[in-house]
């Protein structure tokens, strides 16, 4: 305990005063943000994957439940996995009674995360606007609106005129278009923030509470003891033993759990994203066009961050497919013709695993001591609540009420949580 307190006092508190103090010394004396301790051979909990969910789980294990003998093992580098490959959209416009309270909680936690972690998340609560172009989509979103009303999330319909006033760049989709714009739906709770800051902020705060983060440490297989329960993991740096192991490795979940003989109902898919050159402020909301199949927001740097539909078939490639890219651009230009002048700078894919009901899985598995958080399709928005609720499960052995529906048991009983709010998985 006294070690923990020591570390907390060592951690530099970021404030305007620390900025001034360090500016006076030429920014040469900033302390290291997190430690790089030697890898021990035994921990209370091993978290595989230093992405958003892994780091958040480790942080809340230490903060809420006092479990600090935790190692987070990361194959690559911190903030280099799918947390760097998403489009930073934070929203809670979901469909199911099970989902909405969970995402409402997560959005609220995100809004307080800068203070909680003493790290600037650059959170920008800027509203998401859905551009509706077909009547079935409007019916579905109106239904979502009614369910969301019950849980205190915001979703309101606006006219086409109001929609075009709020997004002046939306000049396509007129009455003669193949898919004319019918109306818009406004979700004022939505926002964006900075993905690096989420990874670094959670890493720094977890580290300050005694959690160890080990980069360049690839878990190759899970180890089971003679009684079948989890015993630890085999890594490229040797064996690490723990009674509790959390798998938070979006995309590669089944690859890893199969080493323990565990089959999970997940498929790995690739989602496309790309970024334009920076331009002056043009669009101040997140624009989602579910009927055309793309969504985008303008980053603080001025780049348009654009996402498209998933590739057909399973994929671990984390790359962009030319025809998915072309289809996304074509759809975007049909509504935003002026974007034709934009040059695109970067493109990438992110791989995620999805269960066929498009809801996440946060549960202990049939291997005692092995926990899994997976099936996240747009899991970025779920990082704070996902980490908190999974830490609750790991520490107490029973699910947090908010995560209770997202079990593996729902597959055993064929009692699915069919989620239509998982935008691009439609």
């Amino acid at each position: 305990m006294c070690i923990v307190i020591n570390i907390i006092t060592i951690m530099q508190n970021y404030s305007v005063f620390s900025l001034v103090r360090n500016a006076l010394t030429g920014h040469r004396n900033w302390p290291q943000v997190w430690r790089s301790p030697p890898l021990k051979d035994r921990y209370d909990v091993v978290v595989i994957g230093a992405g958003g969910h892994g780091l958040a789980t480790a942080y809340y294990l230490a903060k809420e439940f006092g479990i600090t003998n935790v190692a987070v093992l990361e194959r690559g580098w911190l903030g280099g996995g799918n947390i760097a490959r998403n489009t930073v959209t934070i929203r809670s416009n979901y469909m199911r009674d099970e989902s909405i309270p969970f995402y409402v909680k997560s959005v609220a936690m995100y809004e307080g995360l800068t203070d909680e972690l003493n790290f600037n998340m650059m959170h920008s609560k800027r509203t998401m606007v859905d551009v509706v172009q077909t009547w079935p989509k409007l019916r579905e979103l109106r239904r979502r609106q009614l369910v969301m009303d019950i849980y205190g999330s915001t979703y309101d319909q606006i006219t086409t005129e109001e929609l075009r006033r709020r997004i002046p760049a939306l000049t396509g989709g007129g009455p003669d278009a193949r898919l004319p714009v019918i109306c818009g739906m406004v979700h004022t709770d939505a926002g964006v923030n900075r993905h690096d800051a989420v990874a670094w902020g959670y890493a720094r705060a977890a580290d300050a509470r005694g959690v160890e983060i080990h980069q360049q440490t690839e878990v190759q297989s899970l180890l089971r003891g003679a009684d079948g329960s989890i015993e630890g993991v085999e890594t490229n740096r040797g064996t690490v033993r723990a009674k509790k192991v959390v798998v938070a490795v979006s995309g590669h979940t089944t690859t890893l759990t199969e080493t323990a003989g565990l089959k999970l109902p997940l498929r790995t898919m690739n989602l496309t994203a790309f970024v334009s050159e920076p331009v002056k402020p043009l669009v101040d909301v997140i624009v989602n066009c579910p009927d055309s199949g793309f969504y985008f927001s303008q980053s603080d740097k001025g780049e348009m961050v654009i996402g498209g539909a998933p590739d057909m078939g399973q994929s671990f490639r984390r790359d962009i497919k030319q025809h998915v890219f072309e289809d996304t651009v074509t759809a975007m230009l049909s509504l935003f013709p002026s974007f034709k002048k934009l040059k695109l700078m970067r493109q990438w894919g992110g791989h995620l695993d999805i269960a066929h009901d498009a809801s996440p899985i946060m549960d202990h598995t049939e291997v005692p001591g092995l926990f899994v958080t997976a099936g996240w399709w747009g899991g970025y928005k779920a990082i704070p609540a996902g980490g908190l609720t999974l830490a609750h499960l790991v520490a107490k052995g029973e699910p947090h009420p908010l995560m209770a529906p997202f079990t593996l048991g729902r597959f055993r009983h064929l009692d699915f949580v069919m989620e239509a709010g998982t935008t691009t998985a439609r």
């Binding site: 399973q314 497919k321 695993d353």
Partner: protein
């Protein structure tokens, strides 16, 4: 863009095809298996890091359904692991 070989039309652009999912287990007799085995048949699909056998439909072409082996790491269409078609 993948070039997929349709048994009738030869190599065609991927955009002419619709993906039909991975080839799963053969449907067991529901009365002959346990509940666990039946649920596993219904919910678990192969998700290999490497070659996967999958169904494709030449929907914007001749309409043929067929299977190919594709490497999920590279999108290369590969030989079946055991050499069979």
């Amino acid at each position: 863009m993948m070039l997929i070989t349709c048994p009738f039309c030869g190599k065609r652009n991927e955009s002419e095809f619709i993906h039909g999912g991975p080839v799963g287990a053969v449907r067991p007799d529901p009365n002959a298996v346990s509940d666990e085995e039946w649920v596993e048949y219904l919910t678990v699909t192969p998700n290999p890091l490497g070659p996967v056998q999958e169904k494709w439909w030449h929907a914007r072409g001749c309409g043929e359904w067929f299977t190919i082996w594709r490497d999920t790491r590279t999108h290369d269409i590969v030989e079946a692991p055991d050499g069979t078609k």
